[in-house]
Amino acid sequence: MIEITLVVNGDRRSLRVEARRLLADVLREEFDLAGVHIGCAQGSCGCCTVHVDGVPRLSCLTFAVQCDGKSVRTVEDIGGPAAEHALQQAFRRAHALQCGYCTPGFIMTLAPFVEAMATENRLPDENEIRDAMSGNICRCTGYQGIVEAVRQAIAERIGTGAPA
């Protein structure tokens, strides 16, 4: 067992974990963050994506001990219980989710993409959006609603220049 400190959604906590324990399991079990979903546990589907020090990472391929001292952010912290982030709102409008299982992973992958495009003040074309999504699998929507939601969220951010 190894003692580590994680800052999860702003909450700093020290805990003892086995070296082999996955970040996804620690977030789900120790921090009670049910928005972290495991779809394949092989790094192929993107369902478990969280941010580690601001960068999207697959929490099913990351050991918790690798994150000692780091800051982790999950979907629970993106737009709160009402899902108020611009991308989440666009997901609702564009019907970008059905069963919702892959959805937190998509949000965590795409929120920084939306941010980066807004910073560049650039609306990407459809192929660029689809490429940005290529590490996440959705089995319900056929992706079209998600593409549309990303487009809407970026357009809105460029239009209003609102902070994230």
């Binding site: 049910a34 997901f91 609702r92 059905q98 069963c99 290529s134 089995r139 056929g142």
Partner: protein
């Protein structure tokens, strides 16, 4: 200010989904989010050989773990099994033991269950269990299953055919005699899996204080799971609750009762502690259920003008090692035989269909059930006929589709009104430029373009008679809904469906809101829990909208009548004059004379002295709505435009178009989502997804690195066009649409490839390897 409640009608409007907030925020609770005190975690030891005797199971190494564990094997569970018998004399009966007893029949079959306090320890422990096998000859293909020299999979069996039967109508010999052309072809679709992003999982807890057993399962059919567990374990069903929490996709895969559901319930009773099993992705691909894997030989009898006079079909399905509950091993071949006449008008049809047992994962229900394979064969055949007769493929279909409704086909199934010809005409119009481009690139040395279409019908929302005819373990096709209003003017809808992404919470709220004159946001929809919802068959067979929505409509309308009577009494008007809407009851001709609906509900539930004399208190109604005898028939044309690079065999899907008719559209947002999602699964079936076994039935595609699902960059924008032909057979005029999207793509894409390369295409998948062979044949 206008509120949602003031909108005249919610059904048919693009209402955003009520359930989205919790799904977007991490607030949803799926099966793995259930955590109980003292819970044991289950890990399976699964068969590593496709066909073998179990000589012994050694758990001696578990002592090294230094953690308490318990192991259960087939010897511990008595005769507990999944029993899925089709009650016809031809059917060879078998059972799937919950844990293999003396023999394993496919790689992935559960052999032992290991329990520990921690899931990591349970996994460690399962790896230390040693199973000694004596290998048996493997039955690896349809040919082997039909070979009398192959060993039967079950003792006492005569060969490896679960069942072989026939369906016929008209006089096939007359059609053959009258035919100017006889066209015979064989088509096959490969084996694949359904693959919801959330795998399966079961949690069970027994409470000795009130002798109550609760089972949580990631299932589409909680009531059927409850009944099966109660019967198999001899447990009183009134003390058994099955809950499907938020379910991360089902697609029919979770529309079965699985051995794990019964076993986890049994283990909770046996150990006295809550037990949890969460399937991992490898287990899902290996050992949940598979789909497709059909081979159809069709013989069409065609007149000189292209009119089809009759069709003869021979249908084989490799259904794997066990019969699955509730649709049995006969489900897929029977469905394919039943729907093969499709949208075409001919009165002579004969099908022989069989389910073949092999040492593979069992076949079960997956979006479309039999129909994607049937439509692949049917629609490839139409293009092959068109090619042989020199008729344009769309024109050939227009000469053959049913145009006069209701129509009774050769097997006696009656189709409700549809728009088969209109959808074809619309597709032709949309494809004009692509057809021209394909023609201009014929013989091009580097690249080709092809256009393919598939025209099909989807029998949906089938009712009880359809199941009694099939003699499978489930005899009913109804959905029940109960609507109850609360004193504050809101309503609760309890419905025997289960939602795994279809938006039931929103659509059912729209339907209830329209009938009751309130806003969808004031309706709370509960589903997926046998404790709160009326007994029903669950979510499958595209029955949510037409039957679920219909049941809510009928029940809510009954309450609305009572609301109108109370309003008439309080407003001193006649009932006929009262309209409900915008949260109020008002006199239709004088809207200023109104009363809030909350006042009416308060009167009915709390101030009953204000009710009309003699009226009983309460505002509750229930409706059990059975499907029509032959179901409803949605129809669609799918069209694919492909571009193929000859040097590399790389294929790009340039366009995919759906022109579809699902009757009355309840929520366009949801309908488009279902159509698009289904189509992309169908594109996966056609081009990417393939479950591969080697010649010893060892699986070779057990991760997403080998089993390829479609990703966003490979998928074009799916263009969806609607024609609405309401059906007179359901209360709201809606037909089913959940499966249709997945039915057409393999046929449309195969036809496009055949068009591009000017070669016949007879099988899926159409991946790079297959295309290379088609280009270089």
């Amino acid at each position: 200010m206008t509120t949602a409640a003031d909108r005249p009608r919610h059904v048919g409007a693009r209402v955003e989904r009520i359930e989205d907030t919790r799904l977007l925020s991490g607030g949803a609770r799926y099966i793995d989010d259930i955590r109980l005190a003292r819970m044991l975690h289950l890990r399976f030891v699964r068969a590593e050989m496709a066909h073998a005797r179990i000589l012994g199971i050694d758990i001696g190494a578990l002592g090294d773990l230094q953690h308490p564990t318990r192991v259960f094997t087939g010897a511990d569970i008595g005769g507990l099994a999944i029993k899925a018998h089709q009650d016809v004399p031809e059917f060879q009966y078998s059972e799937q033991p919950l844990l293999a007893r003396d023999r394993v029949r496919f790689v992935g079959e559960p052999v032992a269950a290991v329990l520990a306090d921690d899931p990591y320890i349970a996994e460690d422990a399962a790896e230390l269990v040693f199973v000694d096998y004596d290998p048996l000859e493997v039955v690896a293909s349809m040919e082997a299953a039909l070979d009398p020299a192959s060993p039967p999979l079950f003792d006492g069996w005569n060969g490896n055919v679960f069942v072989e039967r026939q369906m016929k109508g008209g006089d096939i010999e007359r059609a053959r005699a009258a035919a100017a052309h006889i066209i015979r072809r064989t088509y096959s679709t490969h084996r694949q899996a359904g693959v919801p992003m959330e795998g399966r999982g079961v949690v069970a807890r027994y409470d000795p204080a009130d002798r109550f057993l609760t089972v949580w399962s990631s299932t589409q059919i909680p009531h059927l799971v409850r009944t099966y567990i109660a019967e198999e374990l001899g447990f009183p069903e009134q003390r058994l609750r099955v809950v499907a929490p938020d379910v991360g996709g089902g697609f029919g895969v979770k529309g079965q009762v699985f051995s794990e559901e019964v076993l986890v319930a049994w283990l909770a009773l046996e150990t006295g502690r809550p037990v949890k099993w969460i399937e991992d992705r490898r287990e899902h691909l290996l050992a949940s259920i598979h789909a497709r894997d059909h081979r159809h030989t069709l013989e069409a009898y065609v007149a000189a003008d292209g009119r089809i006079l009759g069709l003869k079909a021979d249908i084989s399905v490799d259904v794997g090692a066990y019969s699955t509950f509730p649709f049995t091993a006969a489900g897929d071949p029977g469905m394919a035989a039943k729907v093969m006449p499709g949208p075409y008008d001919f009165q002579h049809y004969e099908a022989t269909f069989r389910a073949l047992a092999t040492n593979k994962c069992p076949i079960g229900t997956y979006r479309g059930v039999g129909r994607p394979s049937a439509v692949f064969a049917q629609e490839r055949l139409m293009d092959d006929i068109a090619d042989e007769l020199g008729i344009d493929p769309i024109e050939l279909r227009l000469r053959n589709v049913v145009r006069v409704f209701p129509y009774t086909n050769a097997l006696g199934f009656t189709y409700d009104p549809g728009s088969y010809a209109e959808c074809l005409e619309k597709a032709r119009e949309l494809l004009a430029d692509d057809i021209a481009e394909a023609a201009s690139l014929r013989g091009h040395p580097e690249r080709r373009v092809g256009v393919g279409i598939a025209c099909f019908i989807e029998q949906s929302a089938h009712g009880t008679p359809d199941f009694t005819r099939r003699r499978v373990p489930i005899e009913t096709g109804y959905i029940a809904a109960r609507v109850a209003m609360t004193p504050d003017g809101g309503a609760v809808v309890d419905i025997g469906l289960q939602s795994h992404g279809q938006g039931h919470e929103t659509v059912m709220a729209q339907v209830a809101a329209d009938a009751l004159g309130i806003a969808p946001g004031d309706v709370h929809v509960r589903h997926g829990d046998t404790l709160t919802t009326p007994y029903s068959v669950g979510t499958w067979g595209s029955r949510g909208g037409p039957l679920g929505g219909g049941a809510v409509h009928v029940a809510a309308s009954e309450i609305a009548e009572k609301l109108r009577a109370i309003a008439a009494h309080l407003l001193q008007a006649s009932e006929r004059e009262i309209t409900l809407g915008g949260g109020r009851a008002f006199v239709t001709a004088a809207p200023d004379r109104h009363i809030p609906i909350a006042r009416l509900t308060r009167a009915a539930l709390r101030n009953v002295d204000r009710l009309p004399k003699g009226m009983a208190p309460g505002l509750e109604a229930q409706c059990s709505l059975d499907g029509p005898r032959d179901g409803t028939y949605s129809n669609a044309v799918h069209a694919a435009v492909v571009e193929i690079e000859l040097a590399t065999a790389k294929m790009r899907l340039k366009r995919f178009i759906a022109v579809e008719d699902c009757g009355r559209i309840l929520n366009p947002l949801v309908v488009d989502g279902q159509v698009r999602g289904g189509i992309v699964q169908g594109i996966g079936s056609a081009m990417f997804e393939q479950f591969v076994y080697d010649e010893e039935c060892q699986p070779r595609t057990v991760t997403f690195a080998d089993y390829l699902l479609p990703l966003a960059p490979e998928i074009p924008t799916i263009e969806v066009h609607h024609i609405e032909t309401p059906t007179p057979l359901t209360p709201l005029g809606a037909k089913g649409l959940g499966e249709g999207g997945a039915i057409g793509p393999a046929a449309a894409i195969a036809n496009a490839v055949a068009d591009a390369l000017e070669v016949p295409v007879s099988s899926t998948p159409l991946n790079a390897d297959a295309l290379w062979r088609l280009i270089n044949r």
